[in-house]
Amino acid sequence: MSDDALTLDDIRRMAAEIGMIRLTDAHLQELLRATRTARARRAALPFANLVPADEPAHVFRLEEGK
């Protein structure tokens, strides 16, 4: 879903799906702005340049003796 297409009703439904059912209309407006901002940030990142060998910055590791 593009940012432009995302509506307050969409956000209300998405919020309800993850149990956020106590948000007021004002809170939902905040969530709508926040979600649009997050999507713009994601669009700014060059994920397409990542190759399979690029591992996450924090990977699980075990220390000896544990």
Binding site: I18, G19, M20, E30, A34, T35, L50, E55, A57
Partner: protein, 464 residues
Amino acid sequence: MNDLAWLTVAEAAELLRGRKLSPVEYAKALIARVERHDGKLNAFLRFTPELALEDARRAEAEITRGAWRGPLHGVPYGLKDIIDYTGLPTTAHSKILKDNVATADAVVAQKLKAAGGVFMGKLSTHEFATGGPSFDLPWPPARNPWNRDHFCGGSSSGAGAATAAGFLPAAIGTDTGGSVRNPASMCGIAGMKATYGLVSRRGVIPLAYSLDHVGPLTRTVRDNALMLDLIAGHDPLDPGSVAHAAGGYTAELGRGVKGLRIGVIRHFYTRDMEADPEVAAGIETAVAKLAELGAEVREIQTAPLGEYLACNRIILTSEAFALHEKWMRERPQDYGALARERIMAGAFVRAADYINATRLRRKMADAFHALFSGIDVAVTASSMDPPCRIDDPKAIGYTYGRQARAVFNITGGPALSVPVGFTKAGLPLGIQIVGKPYGEAMVYRVAHAYERATAWSERHPALA
């Protein structure tokens, strides 16, 4: 009393150790100063003069019998109110945690107690170290001692304001996207985000596990290095803590910058984001001063600022939302609007996007640290703008993301903000000095040389 207000940790230690200054008299002087002025600055969320006097009396007795513990013995300090101190609430400046009484000390609090410090109280923050400055919380936001109508930075806002105001010579803050260095820049003091994992985060309310750092704010570079000496060190119970040798951060002070190679990341504040002209001029004047002192200065390039900032925010908001999801479901009305909106930005970040941001983070960090084969430190902007008015939400919204600090939460290496002058209106300006991982001593060396060649750390705000 003014002289005592502006004593550095190093100066106070000298006087206290030599019994030329009583810890009790010192504490009383600073307590009186806080009582007189903090009603207008709100640096303290919980001021604890009775605990300060208790610590001061103990320090006095110990020093009198010759049991001097080190440079913080008998010296006042404060903690950002997301750091646990036994018996006091750790509120995170939020209604959500207003009754959250700590049952144990954070590791940094343990270390400062063991060093004989005089605890003055808990300092204001942005709600959960992210939502501020806000006027819809149970406590008011801290204000800038240089002009109380202006923002003092955050989220370690009380730590910055209290240190700059002469309420205490050192405070401890936290930094996930720049929250130690922002108030340092805006209040005209030094603030260090050391290498990730160097200072234990145990007992500190997390904002984002993989980006959180604990760090000192002080009025001088030497004091900052002294404080980092006290709080750094491996903590096997903090999963992010590194088993790396810590300490010795004052070792390089006084060696100057002659022959050191300094890389200027100019594109951050000229091309990627255009800094306010007074900010840019402050940085360039500082760079010229370092060259004049004998450093070899050259421009370096790294990834665009926007990529670092977006990567930081994707990771930060995802991790923060994971922490806050339960409260967001049950008590959304108990957050201030700014914290709620900033944290909710992580609600619908896809798992794949979060993972890809952490993959990108590793690539960016590796590429950035490779630059250090040709330089000793890098310098760049901290804030792109001088402190704006605290009552102007539009200006706060505009300037909030205009910074180059979150870059170094992504790369993980040390970054120190130090003052580089003032605007025509008398508001502080800052610059960041950045090192390779575990290169704190070199960062302090360069900052100290610059500080000695200028007089910015000797200027103090008038609080009348």
